[in-house]
Amino acid sequence: MLTVPPELLQALESHGVASYPNEGAGLLLGTADGDGRKTVVDILPLANRWEADEQYHRFLLTDQDWLYGEIEAGQRGLELIGCFHSHPDHPAEPSEFDRNAAIPNFVYIITSVDKAQVTVSRAWLLKEDHSALEEEKIQVEQ
């Protein structure tokens, strides 16, 4: 279960719309309890670092972005719990590339942005054996 305040869900979706027709991406800061429940407390919209002519279907946040996220999280007493990215004109479902690049214990919110309009955002977690990402329910509340 992933809890996301409505204004943060709107903000990460807006980042996807603003990035269209390219993929937008950023980091999720928040808390995680021992039972697998995570709560997003803030987001960090970031620049997509993938090669420019491939950003319509690829995103990259670098190791420096990761460190920045960890520092920001630490300063706020939070954790780096996941990331968000958009799929322009594609469903909010993980691709094979998403699966191959995914990290365990790290939430992936994917937003489908169809013709610059948000369709839906869905959350995913990598299975332990890396065979697939399983959907996590998003609870939109403060």
């Binding site: 279907h57 690829r58 995103f59 960890e70 954790e79 995914a102 990290i103 790290f106």
Partner: protein, 96 residues
């Protein structure tokens, strides 16, 4: 003894430890010892083919090993290694 910093998502596989003391003359041997000590960590660092996963970045004293000698990068007693992921993904390939 050298240490290696583990990113938060991988700490469940190192008994919750953020910094793990490690031994080995090279990065490759350090990672080998680390994954022997914590076998559940191995599949998250390495592919089935045995190479480091593409978005797993290893640093020795703030230098990416890709810019050094890769797995053969020497490790000294007081070195600090870090595993820092990149995050990547994207929609299925479509023609433009």
């Amino acid at each position: 003894m050298a240490t290696i910093r583990i990113p938060t998502p991988l700490r469940p596989y190192t008994a919750g430890q953020a910094e793990v003391p490690v031994a080995g003359p090279t990065v490759g041997e350090v990672l080998g010892h680390l994954t022997t000590q914590y076998p559940n960590l191995k599949q998250h660092l390495y592919t089935e083919a045995g190479g480091l996963r593409a978005f797993v970045n290893v640093f020795v004293n703030d230098e990416d090993i890709r810019h050094l000698q890769g797995a053969e990068t020497p490790v000294q007693e007081q070195d600090r290694l870090m595993i820092i992921p990149s995050i990547a993904g994207g929609a299925p390939l479509s023609e433009r």
